[in-house]
């Protein structure tokens, strides 16, 4: 380097190394099933604590894998009326609802041109096995619009082989835009309250504009509706890791 006075240049210490501790980062962003987070309300937190204990007990005995809406799952349940006493159903998860032990998820599949949906309870003792066949998040958290979409988007092969998971870190997001059957639909999915990004709306422009009339842009700024779950989540994560180590 050319110095200003002919003297050697001022000593520049090397930049400090930024240490990214991947372990602690992973701890914070590890998946926490949504039914553990208690809903907003004035109930005694003791009730949710007791439910969480029971949920952890069940998880120790039976492995509930991490899954989101949009994954293709295969569930084997016990049934006294089935041959071999157990039945298997494959489908795409369209909705996860409920909190605590009553947490449910709805699987949808189209069998022989007939759409079938089954709502399963995650913590029911009747469930014998839960396998994730395809890991894939979608653009929305609620895929109820698949009922009004063309049936090809809800058909999944019953004898599908589980797709092997590549990375242990990222779950791919499928940015599929689904084509719908002609209107009428069960709900007016073009309205902004559903906030659906996964449909390819082939409606005329004036209909899309008319739907915007029902938008409520003030909702996202409403402070009374805010529910910050970061501290609650951190507490629950700590509790979970302690209990599962025992």
């Amino acid at each position: 380097r050319v110095s200003s006075d002919g003297k050697p240049p001022k000593f520049q210490p090397p930049p400090k190394p930024v240490i990214i501790d991947k372990k602690t980062q992973k701890e914070e962003t590890r998946f926490l099933s949504p039914e553990f987070i208690p809903p907003r309300g004035r109930t005694d937190p003791l009730k949710y604590y007791m439910e969480r204990k029971d949920m952890i007990q069940r998880r120790k005995v039976f492995n509930i894998p991490e899954f989101y809406v949009g994954h293709v799952l295969a569930v084997t349940t016990a049934d006294p009326h089935a041959s071999d006493k157990s039945k298997r159903f494959v489908g795409i998860c369209i909705q996860r609802g409920g909190k605590g032990l009553g947490a449910t998820f709805v699987l949808r599949n189209v069998i022989e041109d007939q759409g079938v949906e089954i709502c399963y309870e995650l913590y029911s003792p009747r469930i014998q096995a839960l396998e994730v066949l395809k890991l894939e998040k979608r653009l929305d958290e609620n895929l109820m619009y698949l009922r009004d979409a063309l049936p090809e988007y809800s058909t999944f092969d019953v004898n599908m082989k589980p797709v092997p998971r590549m990375d242990h870190e990222e779950i791919p997001v499928n940015k599929l835009q689904v084509r719908m059957k002609p209107k009428p639909w069960s709900k007016r999915w073009e309205r902004p309250k559903y906030n659906i990004k996964g449909i390819k709306f082939e409606l005329p422009e004036h209909k899309m504009k008319a739907a915007e009339k029902w938008s409520q842009p003030w909702l996202e700024f409403d402070m009374l509706r805010e529910y910050d779950t970061s501290k609650i989540e951190a507490k629950i994560r700590k509790e979970l890791s302690e209990e599962l180590e025992k």
Binding site: D79, H81, A82, I111, E112, Q114, I118, C119
Partner: protein, 138 residues
Amino acid sequence: QGLLRRSVSHSLLSFGSITGACRAIQKLTRVRVVDNSALGNTPYHRPPKCIHVYNKTGVGKVGDKILLAIKGEKKKALIVGQKMPGPTMTPRFDSNNVVLIEDNGNPIGTRIKTPIPYTLRRREGEFSKVLAIARNFV
């Protein structure tokens, strides 16, 4: 124009265009006949409708017998699938499915391709013949 669309023959039109409300089956509900009987599959300008439910309440769920009006005739039928969500772990179908039946319980068709819920197996005595012709169970 909406009336025109609805009156197209039922065997050609998919049942997605009917009102979105999901209730169980009662009088005047349009149903879909699922077996391969001639009466159920020949197209007619009016869809098969329920005219009576053999139940204390007038509401029919899966496993109830109903009276159907098809092609100007009255026929008994058994409900094998409904659009209304039932108890958890039971399937919910996208259309109200029905199997044509005689007065003594014998099915008229010879094959049922669409899936049937396992809960019908509980009443094996009454529906044994219907369950025998069913192919897929859900």
